[in-house]
Amino acid sequence: MTHSFGYSISQSRETNWDKLDHRFADKLLDLEPSVRLCVGCGSCTGTCTAAPRSGFDIRKVHTRFRRGEAGAFVAELEKCMFCGKCSMVCPRGVNIRNVMDLMKKLIEA
């Protein structure tokens, strides 16, 4: 039996690599290896049709997905309109549209 004193122990929001599930991320990297080339420049988010009005940040979403936090972004993924502008501007040739598609499929599967 546990007791409450009117407050609870705050949960940590840090990324704990040791405890995260990296299976989705590994699968994504297998299917679309070009995502490894991301340098975090932000071109994709800058040009994103959905970003200015929805707060959707494609760069952060796929970076966190790769860190092993796949589940946290289900709602975020719905904001993408698959217009593909992100892929057009990427200086490293990452097929971001496909990354987006794969993330959705992996989570849904």
Partner: protein, 350 residues
């Protein structure tokens, strides 16, 4: 540019004698035997001149760090402390509390960079109390003094930090107060970077100091973090993080030099236990936590109840057994006992 960061920059010259003691407000409630133990060690064992001034007040640190009183008010109160010290004829200021230690240094540092602030505070003090003062020549925390005399204490040790059942050194984890080690790291012994003030005592007295990953993490006390109930979950989460980190090392006890840290690492163990049903220490009995004075007192053979161990929430008795210290359980909460502490008190009353 050579801002060289090395141990030499953190090794303070500690004056050998003539100290002006500044008590802590909260320690006298939380761990009431600690300060008396410190004075007893300095006066009776080491024969030092240390003045315990009854006119001294709180340094206002808690209120200051909680944004309750303004900077100028705090500085004026601190200026009055300096004035009391000047009046008593001392130059070496020894605060018992790490927050006072940080505060005194902060005031002096501010005055050094902004002499006009010092002038203003001198005026304010004069207008409010007709007092004047000289600035302290040295400020050292009381744990610095014990560290300084650790080898003499070791020579008088009756109960070294050794497990009498196994003959092994006791495993000790330390926690150094943030306001001691992180505000002005170079004004203490080793700062947060080379934390040796407590581990130096431990190894000098026969124990084994254990390094653990979250050694430098805050104990979770904070001021605003704890005082506001809505923030308390944040406070306890930080203590939990420390316990989680130290527990695998199976420490025999924790030693701290900060009033808040000792208090919170002691009390929160019970709270976490109640909240999560997760109990630390051997058989879930908790990891005892000692102030450095209590640790010194036990080493020197003082009566555990005279140095105030009955005031701890986490039971210290298993530790006393490990150290082979005999104690009278019936007298644990007896106020009528004749102890060093009360003897001294009675003498003072007479």
């Amino acid at each position: 540019m050579s801002v060289s960061k090395n141990w030499k920059n953190y090794n303070q010259q500690i004056p050998d004698d003539r100290y002006y003691y500044a008590r802590s407000c909260i320690r006298q409630n939380f761990f009431p035997g600690s300060e008396k133990t410190f004075l007893t060690i300095l006066q009776d064992l080491l024969g030092k001149d240390i003045y315990d001034d009854p006119k001294h007040t709180s340094c206002t640190g808690i209120a200051y760090h909680s944004d309750i009183i303004p900077f100028e008010t705090m500085m004026t109160v601190v200026a009055r402390h300096f004035s009391l010290m000047t009046e008593a004829g001392y130059k070496n200021l020894v605060p018992s509390c790490v927050t006072s230690f940080g505060l005194y240094n902060e005031v002096l540092e501010t005055w050094e960079h902004h002499p006009e602030v010092e002038t203003k505070i001198r005026e304010m003090l004069w207008k409010s109390t007709r007092r004047e003062f000289e600035k302290p020549e040295a400020i050292m925390h009381a744990s610095d003094i014990i560290y300084h005399f650790r080898d003499i204490i070791s020579d008088h040790a009756q109960n070294p930090l050794i497990n009498v059942q196994t003959g092994e050194p006791l495993k000790v984890v330390d926690h150094i107060g943030c306001h001691y080690a992180k505000i002005f790291p170079s004004k203490g012994i080793g700062g947060a970077e080379f934390p040796i003030v407590l581990s130096g005592m431990v190894s000098s007295w026969g124990g084994q100091s254990v390094d653990y990953p979250e050694r430098r993490h805050c104990c979770g006390f904070g001021f605003r973090q704890y005082l506001v109930k809505a923030n308390r979950g944040y406070s306890i989460a930080n203590s939990y993080r420390k316990f989680e980190s130290m527990a695998p090392y199976k420490p025999d006890f924790i030693v701290a030099n900060c009033p808040g840290c000792a208090m919170f690492l002691d009390r929160w163990q019970y709270t976490i236990g109640e909240m999560k049903n997760e109990w630390f220490g051997a058989n879930g009995q908790g990891i005892p936590i000692l102030t450095y004075e209590e640790m010194a007192g036990l080493v020197l053979g003082f009566d555990p109840w005279a140095i105030g161990l009955q005031m701890h929430q986490t039971d210290c008795e298993p530790l006393l057994k490990k150290m082979g210290i005999s104690y009278d359980r019936d007298k644990k909460f007896s106020l009528k006992r004749k102890t060093i502490l009360l003897n001294v008190l009675e003498e003072e009353i007479q």
